[in-house]
């Protein structure tokens, strides 16, 4: 039966909290592409309208010139019928199916250009009032651009006859020109958009490069490969990087100052306690026993509080620490300390396994557990480290400390680790080391549990999450 403790379930699994927000590059590119799309569309629309208007004006002028060409050659006979020269200066008017037509009409009859021969749906014309001018696009059923003017023609007899001269052109030609222009326009717009997007991508990558480098350097700091952001960053980023470096340095300095202060405090408080205890040992006076017990209590309290205080020096970014060398150093130290008892320590595991735990905390955690195993075992101790598992995937690191002692009953282990039993109330040899180990494991969101050991005694299994 395994008795487990720890607060891992209460915490979110590291990594899960990281949402997959779109990257800055994606956001900027998307935003720029949208703005670019809208801007280019509006420009294209304006250019298209401008071109269409200009093309229509040109068409109107062309038709106007045809009308004036007719006007320059027209005459009316006595019946008021229009007479136009056989050969006109505009050859398209003589060419059937050319798409350019002209005509003239009076209340007495009309004339139309030879180009209209064979046209099934000729432009519809009506007699305009004198001085009236008309230009219209393809009509509802028709397919012509028409320009016409209405005027009065004075006959030799002094009569004034209403005359309307018109010119029409097949819109196919006009529409072809517009469509050709539109095709060119959009091709160039898309090409420009692509070029602008590529340029933007290059610019964005250049702009984001320092930020990418910051992230990379922070990752390296986290991995313990560097202590500060060292690259020469652009002026705009320098306040950020300088402050980050200052923060890291302050944290580092604070941690070491704090540790030194704690060491001094421990020395300053414990040495007088040592004097008191040593003096009391020689005393037989009444009350010496009580005072001695009080010294013990003060010592224990002091130890607990100093250990807690030491743990608050933990840094935000812990370098990964290789576990096996720590276990080996402890094994050598314990073998030296317990040389009289011929302690045999075996250390096993994967050389490359690391944990992101303060190096001192890891030493403290394993030291307490291994020392307990050495104390309560019969002379054999095994410390091993392997990769942990979470379901079917690898997750964190497991450290196993085993002894060949009589073992701890699961119930007693549960009591020792039960919440509500303050570490301060425990006495040395009654799980103080275990309590320290437990607190450390919990501080790193790990778990500590008890399983039977292959060596015959107890195995304490520490599971530490990846971060």
């Amino acid at each position: 039966m395994a008795v487990a403790t720890g607060s891992a379930p209460a915490r979110a699994e590291p990594g899960v909290a990281r949402t997959t927000a779109p990257s800055l590059l994606a956001r900027l590119l998307l935003g720029a592409a949208l703005a670019l799309g809208i801007a280019l569309s509006l420009i294209a629309l304006a250019v298209d309208r401008g071109f269409r208007g200009a093309a229509e004006s040109a068409l109107k002028e062309r038709l106007e010139s045809v009308v004036f060409l007719i006007l320059s050659t027209i005459d009316l006979d006595e019946q008021g019928l229009p007479i136009v020269a056989d050969s006109l200066a505009e050859p398209r008017l003589d060419q059937p199916g050319s798409g350019l037509h002209a005509g003239a009409m009076t209340p007495h009859g009309q004339w139309s250009s030879p180009s209209l021969v064979g046209v099934t749906q000729p432009p519809r014309a009506r007699l305009l009032d004198r001085g009236e001018e008309l230009f219209r696009g393809p009509d509802l059923d028709g397919t012509w651009y028409v320009y016409a003017i209405g005027l009065g023609w004075e006959q030799p007899d002094g009569d004034i006859v209403d005359l309307t001269i018109w010119a029409a052109e097949d819109p196919g030609r006009f529409q072809g020109t517009v469509a050709g222009f539109r095709g060119d326009l959009w091709r160039w717009m898309i090409l420009s958009a692509l070029l602008v997007i590529v340029a933007q991508l290059v610019i964005l990558l250049l702009l984001l490069k320092p930020l990418t480098r910051v992230a990379q350097e922070v990752a390296e700091i986290e991995a313990g490969r560097r202590d500060a952001l060292e690259h020469a960053y652009p002026r705009e980023l320098q306040p950020l990087t300088a402050n980050l470096n200052a923060l890291l340095a302050t944290e580092r300095d604070n941690a070491s100052h704090y540790r030194r202060a704690l060491a001094d405090l421990a020395h300053a408080l414990k040495t007088p306690l040592a004097v008191m205890r040593a003096r009391l040992e020689g005393e037989n006076a009444s009350g010496a026993g009580e005072l001695s017990a009080a010294v013990d209590d003060m010592d224990l309290l002091l130890r607990r509080q100093l250990e807690r205080a030491a743990r608050s020096t933990r840094r935000t970014l812990n370098k990964p620490v290789e576990v096996l060398p720590v276990l080996r150093r402890l094994a050598d130290s314990l073998a030296r300390l317990y040389a009289d008892r011929g302690l045999q320590v075996e250390v096993q595991g994967d050389e490359a396994l690391t944990v992101r735990v303060d190096a001192r905390d890891l030493m403290e955690l394993c030291g307490n557990l291994m020392d307990n195993a050495a104390k309560y075992g019969q002379g054999k101790l095994r410390a091993s480290v392997r990769r942990g598992r979470h379901g079917t995937r690898q997750y964190g690191v497991k450290i196993l400390i085993e002894d060949d002692g009589p073992g701890i009953e699961p119930e007693r282990f549960g009591v020792l680790l039960a919440r509500g039993v303050r570490g301060d109330e425990r006495r040395e040899g009654q799980g103080l080391g275990l309590a320290i180990a437990q607190e450390l494991v919990e501080a790193y969101a790990g778990t500590l549990d008890l399983i039977p050991s292959e060596l015959g005694g107890t195995a304490i299994r520490v599971s530490l999450p990846p971060r």
Binding site: P272, R277, R279, S333, G367, D371
Partner: protein
Amino acid sequence: MRILVIEDEEALRELLGRALKREGFATDLAADGTDGLHYATEYPVDLAIIDLGLPGHSGMEILREVRKRGLKYPVLVLTARSDWQDKVEALELGADDYVTKPFRLEELMARVNALLRRSAGHASPEVQFGPLHVNLSSQDVRLDDQLLELTSFEYKVLSYFALHPDRVVSKMELNEHLYDEDADPDSNVIEVIIGRLRKKLDPNGDWQPIETLRGRGYRFRAGQG
């Protein structure tokens, strides 16, 4: 045996000195790291008790220097911090054991005796030389199972021999290791003590455990008897 105590807290240093003397050890007391380093490297020392937090040179520096100079006597470290990091560092530098303050004198003495014994290659506090049994912990000396009455100084000499058997020990060495720094021993005293010890250890004269080597000193013959 001569024990060096390097501790800056005067009261504790004096207490340790007195307790060690009561146990029959000669002591040198140093109040800071500078004096401590001098004693530790220049004086004959059988065991050193070094506090880690010292003014002048730290306990770790003294330890490093002692081992660097090839001095192999056991070192017991006194530390106020109970961190494993500190303990492991001290042990890696060559300390043999550590005691966390505040400690019990009794426990400290047991550790001192165990270290002295271990450094002489004895796993158990009970050492046997022929018919002679010396318990380095309880300081009982038995010859053929009979408890021997020894004076404090006789025991000091015998325990020194017991921890350095089959080795030539000069009178000077005995003086150095058995007397305090400020004592002014008369060289005849050693001869008188050796004479008394011979009578007590070998009343019939058939074992002769202490050999005199003229002009060189004495040799305790562990294998005989």
